[in-house]
């Protein structure tokens, strides 16, 4: 298999009998307990990593459900209260002709979180099943980690609007339950992505981790 051949060119530190400090990058003999430089505990592989990844991922998916079902914003104009969910808001924006904004909201609030769920689940399951990893998998992981924070755009928008638009009777905006849920969902998926030990990607061809 091309993948296997490609993987053979990679010599991991673990295979070389070395362990690197995750914090400062110093390399020690395998079995060294702590980093002499920064005092970090040295682990060649974090064996609980996958569990944490799955746990946070599930938590993120659970709170993502109310984030989509409950209203994100409660807008009151002239005593007229309107509640809009994320997807409902997107459709409303499209109704008003703001396709650009609708696209941004839809991208940041739906595409990115869902893609993150899928990407993390895909990476974790690969490691779980002992499939060999490639460079592109590592890139996928990096993208997921990088893009995670941008999902907070929606939450920021809600926070800013709620703070600014408080004109009593004329117009006022309050955050809904979905805002909290969504913020939690983003936070959970970010923690999930952080918990993933990317070194496990390369271990896969050597077999199941002990």
């Amino acid at each position: 298999m091309a993948n296997a051949e490609h993987a053979q060119h990679i010599l991991t530190a673990r295979a070389a009998g070395l362990v690197g400090c995750a914090e400062c990058g110093h390399v020690y003999q395998l079995g060294t307990e702590t980093c002499a430089v920064c005092g970090t505990r040295l682990t060649s592989r974090d064996m609980t990593s996958l569990q944490r990844v799955w746990a946070w991922l599930f938590a993120g998916m659970v709170v993502y459900i109310p984030a989509n079902l409950y209203p994100m914003l409660r807008t009151t104009t002239f005593g007229n209260t309107q509640e809009s969910t994320i997807v409902g808001g997107v459709f409303e924006l499209m109704d008003h002709g703001s396709y650009g904004v609708a696209l941004i909201v839809f991208f940041a609030s739906v595409i990115i979180p869902v893609s993150k769920f899928i990407a993390i689940a895909y990476l974790a399951s690969r490691v779980q099943r002992g499939k060999p990893g490639t460079t592109s998998h590592f890139h996928l992981y990096e993208v997921v980690e990088f893009i995670g924070r941008w999902s907070m755009i929606d939450v920021f928008v809600v926070a800013i609007l709620s703070a600014l638009v408080q004109l009593n009777f004329v117009a006022s905006i309050h955050p809904g339950i979905a805002a909290v849920s969504f913020a939690l969902s983003v936070a959970f998926t970010m923690i999930s992505a952080n918990s993933f030990d990317p070194r496990l990607i390369w271990d896969a061809p050597e077999g199941k981790p002990v």
């Binding site: 569990q51 746990a55 946070w56 659970v62 459900i65």
Partner: protein
């Protein structure tokens, strides 16, 4: 034998427990799941109960937005809006909060609140912006829960839970009754009317009303309702009056009520009130509480009952006690045949007569029987002086003829009546009209007409018509007169006359001064002669003078001071102005032709003078003059002798000069400054114009002819001088000169005594010096003296100018200047 071999041991690693490496992190998703489920469940549990309200139409009701409110507090939200199966009504599904839900029972009422503008005001304004909402009303007690309701389009009058009473009113005419009209009690809105409806038989209009809580307690059988719609105009003895209740009731109609008597019985169920058209009607029907309430009587009248109608009052001593129920005529058989009489049925309320409430009709009739025997009678009376409306009055006449309550079976008991005093009033009115009739109005009219004719004739008179034209002409004449130039010139002439007068006064003043001056000079002349004599006794005089200086000079100086002050007060400025005016006038005078003829005459006079002079020379007057001069010469010699003593005197004088003259000079300087300010320019201008006149004069034809004329004049003068010569004038002159010569001789003699005089004078000067030094440099005397000197300086300046003028035009002397 085979060795028992142990069976292959199946060694399997201990099965790893799934939970062995289970991380605590797994708590997180489960916690999140639990919380999410919890929220979801709570939301589901809290969402309330769905109720169904049907409306005729649901304008403005939007699913998910329209709220259900109770006392203006949101208690639910419309979740869905649908139609009934037959599309007949709109079904609105409302999710109601759980805490209110138990109270929404069968009696709950729902209606849609919309903005509404009516005569009673604007309501539901807040819904303009926020959209309509559904208002619910229910009582405070939880009841059987219901799910389906029927809503109304407008607020129900008797909202559930609202205390009050629902009553029914009956009326004949429902035009003025409209839905929501207010029910007023003494002008205060205490309830509302619902929409009027027809009774089952279609004869009566019934309208339900809801009276709010504390006020419903006022409703008794004594309560009367009346319509206050519109306004009421009335014209009566009290004057003109307009009466309407609130504007709202004017537009939408309204109903008012009040108790018409005390202690009304409580309302039985199903009681229907009668709605009267006006308050008067309602109050008048106080008594008619039904056939059983009043006791019926009949009254027979033999006079006209014109103006009486059913419903009119029956009063006793001014108090309403009953009402007229019926009027009818009836044929009565009398001994003179059948006669038509009028019968009036009345219903009298025994309670109003003061009888107890439980009095039976029989007792009431008994009471009236007794009352009639004691003099009670019925009679007609007018409602008021002006109206022809009648009422029936029960009066007690002490001196009435005996009568009885006529009681015939099958008929009403009949009250006896007496003649009213209505006809008296009519008779009086008739008499008044007759008197008016008898008035000689026609004659008066004739007189008035003839008077008007006379006036008309007068007005048509041509002379009279001409008067305005004459008046206009007169006014025009007057205006022309006033506009006349001569009249307008009068002020200028008056001004000129005043100027003349001023000039005249100035001249007079000048003339007087000149005369005084002349006399003063004459006196001086005499004084000089006296001095001449007195100087011979000068030594003694000097002594006296010395004494005088010490004693009297100060006083004299004071006098001088006063004189100086007076002189200072002379208004020289005015004098100069007057002089200027005089010069102007002289100027004018000179311009006259007569004056221009003078030079000729003068020329002739000069000619004569010349001859006289020639004669004088011939007659030896010159010799006499020479002798007098010689005498003078001698006198001068004597003076020069005397002057040998002068040096001392001179020294004294110098002292004086050095000490005081500088100051004097300074003062002079000031005087000069003042003099500079005087209106010299005007004077000079006048002089210049005078000179111009002279110029013209000189340039005139007459002046050119002057030599010839002068010749003639001189010829005449010569003749005159010839006469003079013959008259011995020259001899007189000779004698005069001889006297002068003698006088000069006397002077020469007196001068011989001058040395002594000089010595005396020397002493005198010393004394004077002392006196002068006694006066301060800034003393009043000095000041006055200086001002006097200033005046003198002015005079000198004037004289010098005069001299300059004469120098420039010597011939002014000839013309008397």
């Amino acid at each position: 034998m085979s060795d028992p071999t142990p069976a292959e041991m199946v060694v399997s690693p201990p099965r790893k427990s799934v939970f062995r490496n289970l991380s605590f992190v797994w708590l997180v998703p489960f916690l999140a799941l639990a919380v999410s489920l919890g929220i979801a469940w709570q939301n589901f549990a809290d969402r309330g109960t769905l109720i169904e309200i049907s409306f005729g139409n649901a304008s403005g009701v939007v699913a998910g937005e329209t709220t259900l409110r109770y006392r203006d507090v949101v208690v639910g939200t419309v979740e869905d809006v649908r139609f009934t199966n037959d599309l007949g009504r709109v079904l609105v599904y409302v999710r109601v909060d759980n805490d209110v839900e138990p109270f929404i029972d069968d009696e709950a009422a729902f209606w849609v609140v919309r903005p509404e503008v009516s005569a009673r005001g604007i309501s539901g304004l807040s819904t303009v912006l926020s959209g309509v909402y559904i208002e619910g009303a229910w009582d405070n007690a939880p009841g059987a829960v219901a799910q389906q309701f029927t809503g109304s389009d407008s607020p129900p009058l008797n909202q559930p839970g609202r205390p009050g009473r629902r009553i029914t009113l009956a009326t004949d005419d429902g035009t003025t009754i409209s839905y929501g009209s207010p029910v007023l009690y003494r002008g205060v809105e205490v309830g509302r009317l619902e929409a009027p409806r027809l009774s089952a038989d279609g004869r009566t209009v019934l309208v339900d009303a809801f009276i709010d809580a504390p006020h419903d307690a006022r409703l008794t059988q004594a309560t009367r309702f009346w319509d206050t719609s519109g306004f009421e105009l009335s014209f009566g003895t009290a004057g003109f009056s307009v009466d309407f209740d609130s504007i709202a009731s004017l537009v939408t109609g309204g109903v008012a009520f009040d108790d018409v008597y005390e202690d009304g019985e409580p309302l039985p169920s199903g009681y229907v009130f009668t709605l009267y058209e006006a308050e008067e009607d309602a109050r008048r029907n106080t008594l008619v509480r039904g056939p059983s309430q009043g006791v019926q009587f009949a009254i027979q009248f033999s006079e006209s009952v014109n103006g009486l109608e059913a419903g009119d009052d029956v009063t006793y001593q001014g108090l309403n006690v009953g009402v007229v129920t019926e009027l009818r005529s009836r044929v009565v058989e009398t001994q003179f045949g059948p006669e038509l009489t009028l019968l009036v049925n009345v219903s009298i309320d025994p309670q109003r007569m003061g009888l107890p409430a439980e009095t039976s009709p029989e007792d009431t009739v008994d009471f009236f029987r007794f009352a009639v025997e004691t003099g009670m009678r019925a009679r007609l009376a007018t409602e008021s002086l002006l109206s022809s409306d009648l009422r029936i009055e029960l009066v007690v006449m002490d001196d009435a003829q005996t009568a009885r309550l006529t009681e015939v079976d099958g008929e009403l008991p009949r009250l006896p009546s007496i003649q009213s005093n209505l006809s008296d009033f009519s008779a009086t009115a008739e008499g008044v009209l007759e008197r008016i009739n008898a008035l000689p109005i026609e004659e008066v009219m004739q007189q008035a007409i003839s008077l008007m004719d006379a006036f008309e004739q007068l007005a048509r008179n041509e002379d009279l018509q001409r008067v305005p034209g004459s008046a206009v002409a007169l006014l025009d004449d007057t205006r022309a007169l006033v506009g006349n130039e001569a009249i307008q010139a009068i002020p200028a002439q008056i001004e000129a006359a005043v100027n003349d007068l001023t000039a005249l006064v100035a001249e007079v003043r000048e003339g007087g001064a000149v005369a005084s001056l002349n006399s003063a000079l004459a006196s001086l002349d005499e004084a000089m002669v006296g001095i001449n004599a007195a100087s011979q006794s000068a030594p003694a005089l000097a002594e006296n003078l010395a004494k005088l200086t010490e004693e009297d000079i100060p006083a004299v100086l004071a006098e001088l001071q006063g004189v100086a002050k007076t002189a200072q007060e002379l208004k020289l400025d005015e004098l100069v102005a007057s002089a200027t005016a005089t010069l102007n006038r002289v100027d004018a005078l000179i311009a006259q032709e007569a004056v221009q003829g003078i030079p000729a005459a003068v020329t002739a006079a000069i000619e004569d003078v010349r001859t006289i002079v020639a004669d004088v020379r011939a007659e030896g007057a010159v010799q006499a003059l020479g002798s007098s001069l010689r005498n003078l010469d001698r006198a001068m010699a004597e003076i020069s002798l005397a002057s040998q003593d002068a040096p001392a005197l001179t020294a004294n004088l110098r002292q004086i000069t050095e000490a005081d003259i500088p100051k004097l000079l300074a003062e002079f300087e000031a005087v000069a400054t003042t003099a500079k300010d005087l209106e010299l320019q005007a004077l000079v201008d006048s002089a210049t114009s005078t000179l111009n006149r002279f110029d013209t004069l000189v340039g005139s034809q007459d002046t050119l002819e002057l030599p010839g004329t002068i010749n003639d004049a001189l010829t005449e003068m010569r003749l005159a001088l010839t006469e003079l010569r013959e008259g011995g004038v020259v001899e007189n002159l000779n004698a005069t000169l001889q006297s002068a010569s003698d006088a000069a001789g006397s002077v020469a003699e007196s001068v011989e005594d001058l040395p002594q005089l000089t010595a005396r004078l020397e002493r005198l000067v010393a004394e004077t010096e002392a006196v002068i030094s006694s006066y301060g440099a800034r003393s009043d005397f000095n000041t006055q003296t200086l001002s006097a000197l200033r005046e003198v300086q002015n005079a000198a300046k004037s004289i010098s100018e005069l001299a300059r003028a004469i120098e420039r035009s010597p011939n002014s002397l000839i013309f008397g200047r």
